[in-house]
């Protein structure tokens, strides 16, 4: 039995036009374009081309026999492909490559070229065997796919730039609005402060001062809302610490000890202003009524999560609740009641021993 590659070694190849050889007959009549070149001759000329090759390229047998295959190349042939083929031939190894070739009439086609050396008994290479396939359609699909992808990438890049620009403008706008709101809150605060200072009537002065505290509390909320990394949440504990410290400091008294016990509790930003105003009222109330001048006092403020609730307690060790409801003014009372209803929260005023304990339970799923 001959081995499978016996034909590559056959003496018959030295007789390229061996008419009786069934192998050469098969190659001659194959619908696949094929050529054989002789690299032992100068410039590796074609010594055989089958009919399919001639049909594909449009040349006659006489025009191709004895010529190097490079006549198939043209201006748009990729020189890198040409040099890869040249290197493969020089190294006597096979290569499969797509290369743009030109027909006799100047039209182009994509040639899926497969080139392999043909060895003789001693292992030396005398011939190269080349099979070709018109791969124009496949190649166009590939190139089209690449075009499509590049086009898509360009569109994505353009859209990304547009979105980034839109985001930048939105941020800028938000900062601008934020900036104006803060300045306006400051101006409201300024007017209230200045008017309260110009009014001789102590009760009116006090009323204006109370309003100033409320505006300041809202200013603090606004500031904290936009300082946060995530503007989707608002830490009521941090806010409570700050406002309590502010209100105690604003009394100018050194004999009131403020003790804070807080755990972070996040609430939704749209509830922040209401919660802040309630806390402001409750703390202000304690500071106003619990500790007469000269009496040292302790104020304990706690904020902690409790299941679905946030519990805020404000405990003083002062005078305890007066007979009437411990509100600074009827407006202060209305304010707290209104906000508590809106927040679906609960507020209790409990007698401490001594002093008063205010407990606010705020549902966290507002």
């Amino acid at each position: 039995m001959e081995s499978a590659d016996a034909w590559t070694l056959t003496e018959g190849l030295r007789l390229p036009r061996g008419q009786g050889d069934p192998l050469s007959a098969a190659i001659r009549s194959s619908p696949m374009p094929m050529v054989i070149t002789d690299i032992l001759q100068p410039d590796n000329p074609i010594i055989f081309a089958n009919d399919a090759f001639l049909r594909m390229t449009g040349y006659s047998r006489d025009e191709v026999t004895g010529r190097n295959c490079r006549f198939l190349q043209g201006p748009d042939t990729d020189p890198r492909a040409v040099s890869e083929i040249r290197n493969a031939i020089a190294a006597r190894r096979d290569i499969a490559i797509d290369i743009l070739n030109y027909r006799r009439d100047g039209t182009t086609f994509w040639n899926a070229l497969y080139l392999s050396p043909v060895r003789d008994v001693d292992g030396g290479v005398q011939y190269f065997f080349a099979s070709q396939l018109d791969a124009t359609e496949r190649k166009q699909h590939e190139l089209h796919a690449v075009d499509l992808q590049q086009d898509l990438e360009r569109q994505v890049a353009v859209r990304t730039r547009e979105l980034e620009e839109a985001l930048r403008r939105t941020r800028l706008l938000m900062h601008e609005v934020d900036h104006r709101v803060k300045n306006n809150l400051q101006m409201i605060s300024a007017m209230l402060m200045m008017q309260s200072m110009s009014i001789p009537d102590d009760r009116v002065k006090e009323t204006l001062q109370e309003m100033l505290d409320r505006v300041d509390a809202m200013g603090l909320v606004h500031k904290r809302l936009y300082q946060a990394d995530d503007i989707g949440e608002f830490d009521i504990a941090e806010f409570t610490c700050e406002i309590a410290a502010n209100l105690v400091a604003a009394t100018g008294r050194r004999d009131i000890d403020l003790v804070m016990e807080t755990e972070a509790v996040m609430i939704r930003p749209n509830a922040a202003a209401c919660v802040a105003l309630v806390i402001n009222e409750a703390i202000t109330n304690a500071l106003k009524h619990a500790f007469p001048i000269g009496q040292q006092g302790n104020l304990n403020v706690a904020v902690r999560p409790a299941g679905n609730l946030c519990e805020i307690s404000i405990r003083d060790n002062g005078m305890g609740m007066p007979k009437e409801l411990p509100q600074r003014s009827s407006f202060g009372r209305t304010l707290i009641e209104t906000l508590i209803v809106q927040l679906k929260a609960k507020i209790e005023w409990l007698p401490g021993s001594p002093g008063t304990l205010v407990k606010i339970s705020l549902p966290l799923t507002l």
């Binding site: 934020d178 900036h179 803060k182 809150l185 400051q186 300024a190 500031k223 700050e242």
Partner: protein, 153 residues
């Protein structure tokens, strides 16, 4: 009041806010040396009044020149600048030589605390008055944070 009274220059183009600041400063026992709404006035006042502290808004009547104003104040006086702005983000990390920033809106209590703190920090005498905690809302520049809180850095 602990420590000494500070001489304070206000650089702010919103006159109501400037007026409120002035009230707060005076009521805290510090000295208001003047108010400027723009860069040339701020520079002139800093030169003539030699304040200890300049409270500078970032956006002024002649545009967002607060930072330039701060540089100019530093070049004509020994005043330390504290930015007081509703636009905290405009500073990013570039404080120039400023102490830091306090974001608007402010309250009387907050400004009072900040001024007491600065008076204590800038008090040259080593008489060791009680340490004052850094007030809530006062953000120091990286340089001042390193200088005043080296153990944290």
């Amino acid at each position: 009041m602990n420590s000494e009274a500070l001489q304070i220059l206000i650089v702010e183009d919103q006159f109501l806010i400037a007026k409120q600041l002035e009230y707060i400063i005076v009521s805290c026992g510090h000295i208001h040396v003047g108010t400027a709404a723009n860069r040339p006035t701020a520079s002139a006042l800093a030169r003539s009044q030699q304040p200890d502290i300049a409270l500078v808004d970032l956006s002024l009547a002649d545009g967002p020149t607060g930072k330039d104003v701060a540089d100019e104040i530093a070049s004509v006086s020994n005043a330390k600048v504290l930015f007081l702005t509703a636009n905290r983000r405009r500073i990013y990390d570039d404080f120039g030589g400023a102490i830091g920033v306090f974001e608007k809106p402010f309250t009387r209590a907050a400004i009072s605390a900040v001024l007491s703190y600065l008076a204590w920090r800038l008090d040259g005498s080593e008489s060791e008055p009680d340490e004052i905690e850094k007030p809530e809302g006062l953000d120091l520049s990286p340089a001042y944070a390193r200088r005043w809180y080296p153990e944290v850095a």
